[in-house]
């Protein structure tokens, strides 16, 4: 399957033929994108959207610090992604704890990358729609970079893949056989 470049573009390269490896292959990229979408919605919802609707005004008029809304939104995203990482890790623990944890953290970590991107977009935009749109655009670009990179190389070693946050999740190589010279730390 790794020989087929369009399959690689969709799912990335296969790093292992264990059940865990195949789950990581089929679900890893998809899960990372889902976590990213959920994170960007949560962050924009609690920053730009609160301000746009006017609800933030009464909150800011309370004894609440100026950085509190952004901090709270990022904390909410952190809790969300930690929960996702936990569920993935717990669900796949039977296939190897290290691989399960690596996949969970890769997916949750991608969520946090896009939570941060959404937080930045929310500072530069006036409407929640635009903030979500911008972040979704970045997500689309990240997916396209990874897809293009993976279509071109069989092992995900392309520069394009390395530029994409979704490619970073792939490069965690959950459930993969450790690369030569990496020692036994992740097996």
């Amino acid at each position: 399957m790794t020989a087929n470049s369009s399959m690689r573009a969709m799912y990335g390269p296969v790093f292992g033929d264990s059940l865990g490896g195949l789950v990581a292959w089929r679900f890893g990229t998809f899960g990372a994108v889902l976590a990213a979408v959920a994170s960007l919605i949560v962050v924009v919802r609690h920053t730009r959207e609160e301000e746009e609707t006017g609800r933030q005004e009464m909150l800011s008029a309370g004894a609440v610090g100026r950085r509190a809304p952004l901090t709270a939104a990022l904390l909410a995203a952190l809790v969300l992604n930690a929960a996702v990482a936990l569920v993935v890790t717990a669900g796949l623990a039977g296939q190897g704890a290290a691989g399960a944890l690596a996949l969970g953290l890769a997916i949750g970590g991608t969520g946090m990358v896009f939570a941060t991107a959404a937080a930045l977009a929310a500072q530069f935009t006036e409407s929640a729609r635009l903030a979500k749109g911008l972040t979704a655009g970045v997500l689309g670009l990240a997916f396209a970079l990874r897809a293009a990179g993976d279509a071109g190389t069989a092992d995900g070693s392309s520069l394009l893949t390395r530029l994409s946050p979704i490619g970073w999740a792939e490069h965690v190589r959950a459930f993969a056989a450790p690369p030569a010279g990496a020692g036994g730390c992740c097996s």
Binding site: T53, G54, R55, M58, A61, A63
Partner: protein
């Protein structure tokens, strides 16, 4: 510290729009201060600067003796705010939002008895969800939270724009109570009767500047009293007296306006002609208000 609010030369621009253009405002501790002006005059922007929600480009502001931008969090424990347009969370009930606003100030939240009393007086159903409330009811939620709070300063931004006349009366009672409790109230308003009934002093703003500030009596002094009289004899030289405007004679009936500080001489002249009937209408705030705006248009 006798001044609850002092602002000098506030400037604030949003892009090319100059929302505030050297605005001054002084509010004494314990007074109800009316803040009047047409839409877009910079009233809400001023209030947001005083609450530390916006940072003025230049100018100095002190609220309760502190810097509204730097000390915002500390100050907000002593201030209750009602915005002109209250937006609630769709799935929180009115009662939950009132409690949330109360607890946002820190401490133990609102006085339960006072909260219940105000909900009763404003006839608010606190069990309904935020999405089902009308504009007036959303405003009541913020008003109950503000009047139930133990604060030194109430900042109200056109708080009655969605209330019916009955609730307007309840609102005025609540402001009176706040005054008796020694709280300072800054009330931005469109409704002149409300300002006349409640406010000790008013500031009128236009295009981001304060055009007039003082007690209602002082401001009235600057304006004209309307006089209608039926005279026994001819109005000898009345029309040429200083301070008389818009003189009109129809038979025995004269109508004119007179600068309030020239009233004495005019009345003597009227009396000399013999007066059969006389009505004199003191200037209303409305006339004061309109004069400021029309002056601006003609100049």
């Amino acid at each position: 510290m006798t001044k609850a609010i002092s602002a000098v030369g506030l400037h604030k621009s949003f892009g090319r729009t100059h929302a505030l253009d050297g605005l001054d405002l002084t509010v004494e501790t314990g007074e109800v201060h009316g803040f009047l002006g047409p839409n877009g005059a910079g009233k809400s922007t001023t209030l947001r600067v005083l609450l530390g929600l916006l940072r003025a480009d230049s100018g100095a502001a002190r609220v309760l003796g502190r810097d509204p931008w730097k000390d915002a969090v500390e100050l907000h424990r002593r201030i209750a705010y009602v915005p002109g347009d209250v937006t609630l969370w769709r799935n929180l009930s009115g009662g939950e939002v009132i409690d949330l606003y109360g607890r946002l100030r820190g401490g133990s939240g609102l006085d339960r008895a006072r909260r219940a009393e105000l909900i009763e007086r404003f006839e608010l159903d606190p069990t309904k969800k935020g999405r089902t409330y009308s504009k007036g009811n959303r405003q009541k939620v913020a008003l109950v939270a503000a009047f139930a709070a133990d604060v030194d300063l109430l900042v109200l931004d056109e708080p009655t724009s969605g209330l019916d006349p009955l609730m307007e009366e309840v609102f005025q009672d609540c402001v009176e109570e706040a005054r008796r409790q020694g709280r300072t109230v800054l009330l931005s308003s469109h409704i002149l009767s409300e300002v006349e009934a409640l406010c000790d002093r008013v500031s009128i703003v236009r295009k981001g500047r304060t055009v007039e500030s003082g007690s209602l009596a002082e401001l009235r002094h600057l304006t004209r009293t309307s006089v209608t009289a039926e005279l026994a004899g001819p109005p000898n030289g009345l029309a040429r007296l200083p301070g008389v405007h818009g003189f009109d004679l129809r038979g025995e009936r004269v109508t004119f306006q007179v600068d309030t500080d020239k009233l004495d001489a005019v009345l003597r002249s009227l009396a000399a002609s013999g007066v059969r009937s006389l009505t004199s209408t003191p200037p209303t705030l409305e006339e004061l208000f309109l004069r400021h705006y029309t002056d601006e248009v003609t100049s």
